[in-house]
Amino acid sequence: MKILLAMMSFSFAMSQGEYVFRLGGCVHCHTVEAKRPLTGGRSLVTPFGTFYTPNISPDPETGIGRWTYEQFSRALRQGVAPDGRVYYPSFPYSSFAQLTDEDTKALWEFMTTMPPFHQVSRVHDLSFPFNQSFLMRIWRTLFFSPSQPPTRGSYLVESMLHCAECHTPRNSFGAFEMNQWMAGSSMKFDGRVPPNLTPDPETGLGSWTEADWVKFLSSGILPSGRTVGSEMASVISATAVLRPEDRKAVVDYFRSLPPIHREKTK
């Protein structure tokens, strides 16, 4: 019955570009109003100040409509804007740095098909000295060191889904504490902090079975029966589209992380 229904439906094979676009979660951070995707304006409150995401719709005046692929690729994977400025690490270019040429190209092609919207981007509201954007050149020199992901799972988790951006704590320079990888951070989303995703039995997800992970990534339902909310709800709308073999790779990645005992930040 289900097969018949599937056959009768309009078949919908997601393009590789849309797949990368969805997993990368571009829409979540660069959209305030669902009707005007990619026009930016979403705020990200951090100890350094408030960041506002820019318009990345293909509008030639206020978006990225005049960019070339080379400029896009450099911005996404090197963190350098077409005018030479270096982005703040609030834009996860250090995660996207690992994206393959093929995926970057597919993503670019898909993004050019999105509708353009005229929307002037808002300037970040940061405290001194973080408002000195030239400092980002120094930051980038110190902390930007992309490496090739060894497995499909690490490529998906660390690069495309960029889970570490919220689930790994940062030092006072805003760089990852590498010995606390995926052990949760103190960022606040609706009053709650991103939890420890390592398989630590007490403070992490050591009790989660493979089936728990699959159910969670495809529906947002936790083993307790409750669902996740806030930003993680948007992330679920990305992980839900993971192809079965990729979902398995993501689950295997998390289940094989070294367990780290780290209490939730208050």
Binding site: S11, F12, T31, K35, A238, V241
Partner: protein, 295 residues
């Protein structure tokens, strides 16, 4: 009110309500064929020639089984056949017990085997669902969902949530029904509806194309990841409901309830908060008038 007082009241209410637990028929090894043999041997000499009933006719025998007289006279008082008669002397205690167990099993016409009991029980269970939900297409003018073709995982989860009042039906109807169901019953009902074919209306252009387009634009980056990115535009997971061709009124009703947090879901709340009633209406319209992922 203490929670257990509330629970007690609720349990009390549910048993009195229209949705009493349905046990189905009980297992029985004695059908009418077997008791008919006993009747023919010991009763037909006098009945129905001297007085009714004709014990060899099922409906007539059934009347006396149901009104209690059969067991009273034959098994308890042993006043039938008349104690001084030859028939009474010939009738063994075992034969009287055959009649007793037949009546105890509900005086069935045929022997009910174990498998048939399950089927009969499941039928009785789903009968009450069908009254409102029907078998196929959704009624768009009522906030009642069409259940055909949803997964058993999703249906069972919702029934359990109704049962534990984690999901509340404002009419209380679903909570009452679910409370009367055992976990086993829930599994049966869920499997039944999961096995029914989802009704697929012939694709036609929605009458309000502007509204449909608005819904499509909204759903594209909010709903579609979970609800329509699976195989054949179905949900991404067995735990996620299929919204295609669902009752428009039901969809809108649930979206509003997610927004007001009357229906609890942190996840759904995140997607509906901040959306205007018009937006939610467009979303409901889009899914109710489904015609493919891409217009």
């Amino acid at each position: 009110m203490k929670w257990w007082v509330l629970l007690f009241l609720l349990v009390g209410c549910s048993a009195e309500g229209p949705h009493k637990p349905v046990n189905g028929r009980q297992k029985s090894e004695v059908g009418f064929e077997k008791v008919r043999g006993v009747f023919a041997k010991h009763c037909s000499g006098c009945h129905p020639s001297r007085s009714p009933p004709d014990w060899l006719v099922y409906d007539q025998a059934r009347t006396y089984a149901d009104n209690g007289l059969l067991v009273k006279r034959v098994v308890q008082e042993k006043s039938m056949p008349p104690p001084s008669s030859a028939e009474a002397a010939q009738m063994t205690e075992e034969e009287r017990q055959i009649i007793a167990s037949w009546v105890a099993a509900g005086a069935p016409e045929k022997v009910v085997a174990r498998g048939e009991v399950d089927q009969a029980g499941a039928n009785a269970l789903t009968q009450q669902c069908l009254q409102c939900h029907g078998k196929g297409s959704a009624k768009s003018d009522l906030p009642i969902p069409s259940l055909a073709g949803q997964t058993k995982e999703y249906l069972a989860r919702q029934l359990r949530r109704y049962k534990w009042r984690d999901r509340i039906d404002p009419t209380d109807q679903m909570n009452k029904v679910a409370m009367s169901l055992t976990d086993d019953d829930i599994g049966k009902v869920a499997s039944y509806y999961a096995g029914l074919a989802k009704d697929q209306p012939a694709p036609s252009a929605p009458s309000d194309m502007a509204k449909w387009q608005a819904g499509y634009q909204l759903a594209r980056w909010t709903c579609s990841g979970c609800h329509t990115s699976g195989p054949g535009n179905g949900p991404a997971s067995v735990w996620v409901p299929d919204l295609r061709f669902q009752s428009q009124f039901y969809l809108l009703n649930q979206l509003l309830r997610f927004r007001s947090q009357e229906r609890k879901s942190e996840l759904m709340r995140h997607f509906v908060e901040g959306q205007s009633p018009e937006d939610l209406e467009a979303l409901a319209y889009y899914f109710a008038n489904w015609k493919g992922q891409n217009p």
